[in-house]
Symmetry: D2
Subunit: 363 residues, 4 copies
């Protein structure tokens, strides 16, 4: 299989399966001497953890992270940092019926075809449970980027739910506050929209169905010139990190696909100076030009498909490749977006920190 | 700068600037004993080359590729293949005015800020001229993938213009033929739409403006299971390759951003057997599930911004970071999409071949 | 720090410190469907484990390996395989005196200078204890390479002690048997020499001193052409893996440094055919020419320095960089070579398997 | 084939064959704004070029380097730097007899077996001629490391011939001066030894034979802590770079293989302070402990085999794998060491600069 590591200077290696002893990750390249805030790390885990509300899967995991290397007396040592997260609430029996049938929209059948073997329990390696290890690592990257002693300005990454099914927020005039986002069960900063989204999810859940949506994400205070302008374009590396998140089907920057409808004279952002800093008057580009940060906030949108596992009956193939039907039981989210917020943030933090370390090359 | 190489098993290294002696690339990892079709390579270069119609820049380059290593008596030897493409029609004088002013939408100012130096002639390293070296390498990957002696079924990658400005083709019922696409000056397979697009480009050009659009791309006969399911998801690697193409602002797969509006029961593709092969009844997923190929055609859309260099007057900064205006002269495309078609295909061919080589690991 | 991963197709990521909760590793890229022999794995761990005889450190670790991912019902799944080895017999108190003084020959002072922090307990990350995770991974690689269903001929890697201090075996006429090697406490296949070596080690131990030596290693049945002939030369990659083993100061192939004294007519190996296979009449080259395997056994020698931690008094610096003296206590090996045998084999098995996977590219 | 690139932060990609249009390389990751000394670059090429004395091959190449990218108005731009070196004095006809016979000690037969095709002209890709591209890149790395504005102290790498055949210099008390080394045709800093070596080479040449030897190399002023202590140990990365040089059969550091004969109390280097800098009283370690630089000069020795191509008759196989004999004609060096000096220095400079860039991470 390979390709379970990502990053050049800050390398995340992911391991584990949904119902093994642990999921986890190794984070290599993190600078030494950084004081870790374990409470913050654990709070970030809580945002991703299953069972946090009745909108999410009922699997109940504390998701307490054990750091077993690379940290000494509360500080990073420069050695690889290993995160272990126990799989406690495993009910492999619940998944016994998945041994014999392949879920539509799921990779089970592809694992079986490609590898000739699969761990069918809870989706095995293809379960989004493995992102627990990414969020743990991402929390450290976030702490580093937000630390004003590391960067002249704290680099702040904020994601929120912009759309669930047909309920859609307009593009914001300003970046919503993190507290506003966290107040909402679905992590949508507009209260009335948030309520409508919750209703829609509950309705889909009651129908045995699921919903997709769009997450928006901003990155503030990216150093000007961050990114490497040929095959390390900022949008390409952010794309690579984020398109690896389960259920993502698209990513766009700035005006995104709407850019197709614009003329150059409408889409170009004029350069300006303000506060002795380079910037642009408008920000159609979403903070990236020529693969590098312009200094304006980076803005991206990420499309998530509706959860594939639904309890509505679907046509499919069984383990013998004969036609069959499936009404899935087991535990799953009717809409992944609320729990995907910290995952998008984690991947963005890891991608940006990788570049920040590299930028120190050429002071 | 670094990050001028891309790929794991088939590694493309890009070099060169718009007005240096050569642009080019090195392709490492190509298997030995493959007979190269030089005419085909040259035809692929023609599709990208400037000056091919009056819709494109008037810079006139033959773009004849010189292969200076890795090929012996017409066959690959397994050694790295080096492509040189001379820059002949260089008019650096035309760009003298760009020494002193930074173009909106362009990376000039970011290069200058980040590196403290830049080759201003024709955009230097940030010019899309460097993609000539990518298209040369991509042509070899294409020849390999389309060769039935290398793959049970030829893997065929087809890109076309789906939208320019507001003129938009519907999603096709079937993949358009390559000859149909090439008949059109803008590489749009629908003749009447193509004519409207040409008119729109000509109008924008006459106004000193530029247009954006969307390219669609399909990949047929991808082996089932192609892609590596954690940090080498097929969509993530295709995304990484294609988001590195100049002017790209978004990429999506299957239903793309429209997936947000769908329910699981609408978006899931039921598994089926046909001709003794696994497949899906519908293809909302665009041929990729869990990061691996389903056997159905891969479908992706790529958003391109309108060309940043326009002759309309724009507000900007000069080299001393004072406010200024710019009406760009020099040569540029009023719409990059027609010439971007072979670039998208090249990057997709390179990405897919990288995975095909890896798949041979686990026979 | 970074650079805690090694390999291109089969990637070993190492983590852990001497006195943390676990040392371990993640092995990514191992093919799916391979039945693991856990008993064999545990036997390989026993050969490296401390406390196995009174010639080794008295630290007593069972070194039972817990595999927490990538293996399902006894078979590899293609997912990354994670090995955890608990640190049980930790006596951090024993190392308290090392907080305040820097050992000659040890990296303590360099860690402190470079990172501004170090885990001083038992050498922390610089302890050879971390090689437990390498040996676990290497055992799987060995099982793969020795499996005749994976390779036409089992690839067999054998290391033995060739020299300890001044007691030196001549170059062997034939590769010693593994059982003969294991019969000896010092892993030297010549019984009388082995006894002399044991005496020498015991004497050094009683004097509070330590001994160096040379390990020889052969690789049989390497496929002809294994290795990549420019920057992936077989000797360079084997060198990279093995020079990363703690205490190694040199590596050589075939005639090694003696090659300096030879003429071309003496050193060249004439090509021959035997049993319808290419080979050479002599094997001065040690099985590698032009960076690729010739089909003859690969022969290499590896020089190990005497253990740096000794109880004899030595001059050094203390934590305040003032002059000081040190007579080390704590637990350490008077000679690392007997326990280094499985480590050399593990690294060689991992390096060779990485190339074997790559060779499947070009069938 | 792949693996024609080396380095993590400063990546050298090698291309070309002995009798193609060009050999060359691409150097990616070199910082922007560095003023290149072209005369120095050309002087470094002269030291490697064939035909520089009657001790070397009679192939006559000016080896003028054409830099076709990455340098603008004499300064690096941060973009990849491409070096082209024309193959002018190609006499492919001289090698026609090598089409039909495989030279002992050469990789011809392995290329043919592995790839099913080879460029037989002058050894093709396996010719040491390709190192011209390495020396060009290495010269830039050298200029960077020796520049006091880039590093607090210039990092100086010096290689010399320590042994040819049985004529051997003792380990030096001090590092020989570069001018002393260059005064000697064989690059041995001891005049009387140098004369004996020249005689020995001339004698071997007249007998149609060739000689091996040992090159010593020092690195002065390496920053303390340079190197990454697990799988990026300084000796492992230097080993990887240098074992990839054609004809190298071994590498050792400090006491090298002699370390086997030493006790810990003899081999350990006591830490000391001098001039407010950490260092060691002795330097048995050769400047590297725990994979990191100690601040003392790095000392390494590299063993080169005698040139494989000799005119003495040898037994071998022909292209049909039948027994045959060969008395090679064509042009070759009777001893490669004098011309290998700049190659060893180039690879060491590239390896060290790669680490220096990385060290800037953690200031």
């Amino acid at each position: 299989m390979a390709r379970n590591s990502i990053g050049k200077n800050l390398i995340l290696t992911s391991f584990g399966e949904s119902h093994g002893a642990f999921v986890g990750s190794v984070l290599d390249g993190f600078p030494a001497g950084f004081k870790i805030d374990i409470q913050q790390l654990q709070r970030d885990m809580q945002r991703r953890r299953p069972g946090q509300s009745n909108l999410t899967t009922s699997r109940n995991e504390a998701d307490e992270v054990q750091i077993v290397s690379g940290v000494f007396e509360g500080q990073t040592t420069g050695s690889p940092i290993t995160f272990l997260i126990a799989n406690n609430d495993t009910k492999p029996k619940d998944y016994d019926h998945l041994k014999d049938v392949f879920r539509p929209g799921h990779a089970d059948i592809l694992y079986q075809t490609k590898y000739g073997i699969r761990d069918h329990r809870g989706g095995g390696r293809s379960s989004a449970r493995i992102t627990a290890g990414w969020v743990a690592a991402g929390s450290l990257a976030k702490q580093f980027l937000e630390d004003p002693t590391q960067n002249k300005l704290p680099i702040i990454i904020t994601a929120w739910v912009k759309q669930i099914h047909t309920i859609e927020l307009p593009k914001p005039n300003q970046i919503p506050s993190k507290s506003k986002i966290e107040e909402s069960l679905v992590r949508c900063p507009d209260i009335s929209m948030s309520e409508k989204m919750i209703e829609a999810i509950e309705k889909a859940k009651s129908e045995g169905d699921s919903l997709g949506g769009i997450i928006a994400c901003t990155i503030e205070n990216c150093p000007i010139g961050l990114g490497e302008p040929v095959f390390g374009k900022l949008q390409a590396v952010l794309g690579q990190y984020i398109l690896n998140i389960n259920a993502v089907k698209g990513i766009s920057f700035g005006e995104g696909f709407h850019v197709a409808n614009l003329k150059g004279s409408e889409n170009n952002d004029s350069w300006k100076m303000s506060d002795n800093k380079i910037g642009t008057i408008t920000n159609h580009a979403g903070g990236i030009i020529g693969g590098m940060a312009t200094g304006e906030p980076i803005y991206m949108e990420v499309a998530f498909k509706p959860t594939s596992t639904i309890s509505k009956e679907q046509q499919t193939l069984d383990a013998s490749l004969n036609e069959s039907t499936l009404s899935a039981t087991g535990r799953h989210d009717p809409c992944v977006l609320p729990r995907a917020i910290p995952i998008v943030e984690a991947m963005a933090n890891l991608a940006i920190m990788d570049f920040v370390l590299e930028m120190n090359f050429n002071p």
